[in-house]
Point group: C2
Chain length 212, copies 2
């Protein structure tokens, strides 16, 4: 039985006025979860609208009308992932916060399900500009969410106030994503530790000063 | 007219004895160039064996028999790219060599044709394990080719002899690939400069010491 049938009682009479958590939100959650399942299982190149609709228990017409294409599904999933981005750490030191950040990236990329989902959305973005914009939006949201860890360190006098917070955070993530997606090398805690050591050393040497 | 017809005069009578530069090599070169053209124009997800055969002027049967699938084409292209990897710089200083390395990565990724080819092969590797192994082989060949720039710097006394050469080189590439493929941000000379500044600072601070 389809989710739409289950949920039809709570459907609003006026389009656009459906409350958050109502039918529209539930259909979206079910479709995005089914999209994530499909990406985790088989990647972007086999993502199929009909199968996503069936797995989500939502009518095909709804899925085609609202998302249009596999690219539309991935784009909306990336928006949802950006909204669900975890809040930044606040351990009291820049080193502690960056280690928490690196641990989170490591955990995500080495998780069998989430690692596969990230590989799939990055590959999808290579095939489509709308997906690429959504992927960019996801990382922009994540980097912005964590920027205060660098700004707070500058306020505490740990760093030069002219340090580019986003560059410091990119420096932590980049070596991990490079192994994960580009050179396809194993990714371990030693890599996360080294990424943070290197980012801290480069930051303290002024490599990420703004106005460069 | 097909390349195979053109080339049939120079075909060896005994399989496996075709000289380098002979028919086998010419067919491979034509097919891999057509593969690269197709990846540059439209990415991996639309790579089509019949179109590659037609563009290369090679019979479909040959292409199917020798490469099997689009994944087989990409895998062989990556092997060929590894063989064509440019020799490392030798400017006399680690900084000079790393700047030459960063400039080469920047030039490749921002070149409209080669940038599109790299996006396509990285996306292909996300969809297929054989491609992933070939991509890994390509970067392994490239990093190994450039490792002497770090080892020579250690011999000159510029660096601690216990420095992990591959880690230094990954540190130069990673921030550029991160912007290019992951966060999908613009990639400029300032990014290449910053990647080298950061890699040098981290190297000098001992972040890439071996035996970690």
């Amino acid at each position: 039985m389809e989710l739409e049938t289950h949920l039809s009682e709570s459907q609003s009479a006026v389009p656009g006025t459906v409350r958050p958590g109502g039918r529209t939100a539930k259909v979206r959650a079910a479709v995005l979860e089914a999209t994530e399942d499909a990406l985790a299982a088989a990647g972007f190149h086999t993502l199929n609208m009909d199968q996503v609709a069936a797995a989500a228990g939502v009518g095909k017409t709804t899925v085609y009308r609202r998302w249009g294409s596999p690219v539309g599904l991935v784009t909306d999933l990336l928006r949802d992932m950006a909204d669900r981005s975890l809040p930044a750490a606040d351990t009291g030191t820049l080193e502690g916060d960056l280690r928490a950040n690196a641990a989170l990236v490591l955990k995500t990329l080495t998780d069998p399900r989430m690692g596969a989902v990230f590989r799939a959305v990055i590959a999808a973005a290579a095939c489509d500009e709308e997906c690429a914009a959504a992927l960019h939006g996801f990382y922009r949201a994540r980097l912005t969410e964590w920027a205060p860890v660098v700004d707070r360190a500058a306020e505490r006098g740990e760093l030069d106030p002219g340090t580019d917070a986003l560059e410091v955070l990119r420096a932590v993530s980049a070596p991990l994503y490079y192994r994960f997606m580009i050179s396809r090398e194993p990714l371990t805690e030693a890599d996360a530790r080294r990424a943070v050591d290197a980012a801290l050393a480069a930051t303290r040497a002024g490599a990420y000063a703004t106005g460069d």
